[in-house]
């Protein structure tokens, strides 16, 4: 979620056991769950590797988000009274604070979390779950194909969307979100630069 682990990084059981001070069973459970969410890939007798989405995967993820998020945001803006906007307002503040202090991983995490919280605000458990999966996948994709600059830092766009929701402007909110997603997607260059996995243990312990 924070793009600290590069795709194709091997996650060996023994290392994870040592790092987290946990038995192998726990690790294997966790790996199985992560693989069921598509964040890692379990290769038989070879181990677990951080998922490396293809270009086709990337397109599919954005297509799926384009299908779900616009009507979702529209619905939110249609009756913003019943939902808890406070969480979202607070979140925007957190994002701003992280941006000011230039905390890269924090910015990335919060940037994705905004969309998750948007889905959570709908009050629909399943939409929330779906969104969470799509957002984490998006994070992987941006880490892989993203232009290293501010691709994941859409500045004030999140705030604008929230404002449109608060002021009951469904169409504007939907439009803003669509262009926001397009922004993110067009920021990708689709040249799968296979970055070399790094030290690891230190990364995990951060």
């Amino acid at each position: 979620m924070e793009q600290r682990l590069a795709p194709n990084t091997k996650l060996s059981e023994s290392l994870l056991c040592k790092t987290f001070g946990v038995g192998r069973m726990r690790i294997r459970r966790a790996l199985l769950l992560l693989s069921s969410q598509g964040l890692i890939e379990l290769q038989s007798n070879r181990g677990a590797y951080v998922a490396c989405p293809s270009k086709s995967d990337a397109n599919d993820v954005f297509a799926a988000r384009m299908l779900i998020e616009p009507p979702l945001v529209r619905n939110l803006a249609q009756n913003p009274d019943v939902i808890d906007l406070r969480v979202l307002v607070d979140h925007i503040e957190l994002e701003d604070a992280a941006r000011e202090q230039n905390e890269r991983t924090e910015i990335i995490r919060l940037s994705g979390e905004f969309h998750t919280k948007l889905a959570q605000a709908s009050g629909n458990k399943f939409i929330f779950r779906m969104m969470r999966e799509l957002v984490t996948r998006t994070s992987l994709i941006v880490g892989l194909f993203g232009s290293s600059e501010d691709a994941s830092c859409p500045d004030h766009e999140h705030g604008d969307i929230l404002q449109a929701i608060q002021t009951k402007q469904p169409q504007k909110a939907e439009k803003l979100l669509i262009s926001h997603l397009h922004h993110i997607q067009s920021g990708l260059d689709m040249k799968s630069r296979t970055e070399i996995p790094e030290d690891l243990e230190a990364i995990l312990l951060t």
Copy 2:
């Protein structure tokens, strides 16, 4: 998926081991995955139970489907050339055949599978996965709240939707699908009749 296991049925590890002739590890892996999909619930130190969706869950599932499926079908109908309609056509035939021979579990399974295949036809891996989860959940819900009659047997509605797609009528297809979902949902009476779990082992082996 075939509604052969009633909600709240306990799935004990030892029984599953004996029934399928498999070690406990495999069973536990399977149970963990099923729980991650929300089909069963893992209670700590108590075991696995077939999920028992609440009314709120039921509403959420249908709301999520209402959000996703209409635009999905619309997209399919907009350019039905690029997709493989043959699979869907064959499927309708299977449904008809099962209905003729009155094979209850088969009808239920195929009835859900139609929607899954609709999502598969989109070619989008993630939409397919989301749809599959929603459909299986719907199956549980219909089994719980469904009027025991033909709630899950919408007769020719699937065929109509497919035809609208084939003849490039996006709006009609979308409209048909919406009313189809409403049909299913309105067929529920929302009185959580907690049916008593049955013999089990025999059911599993079928």
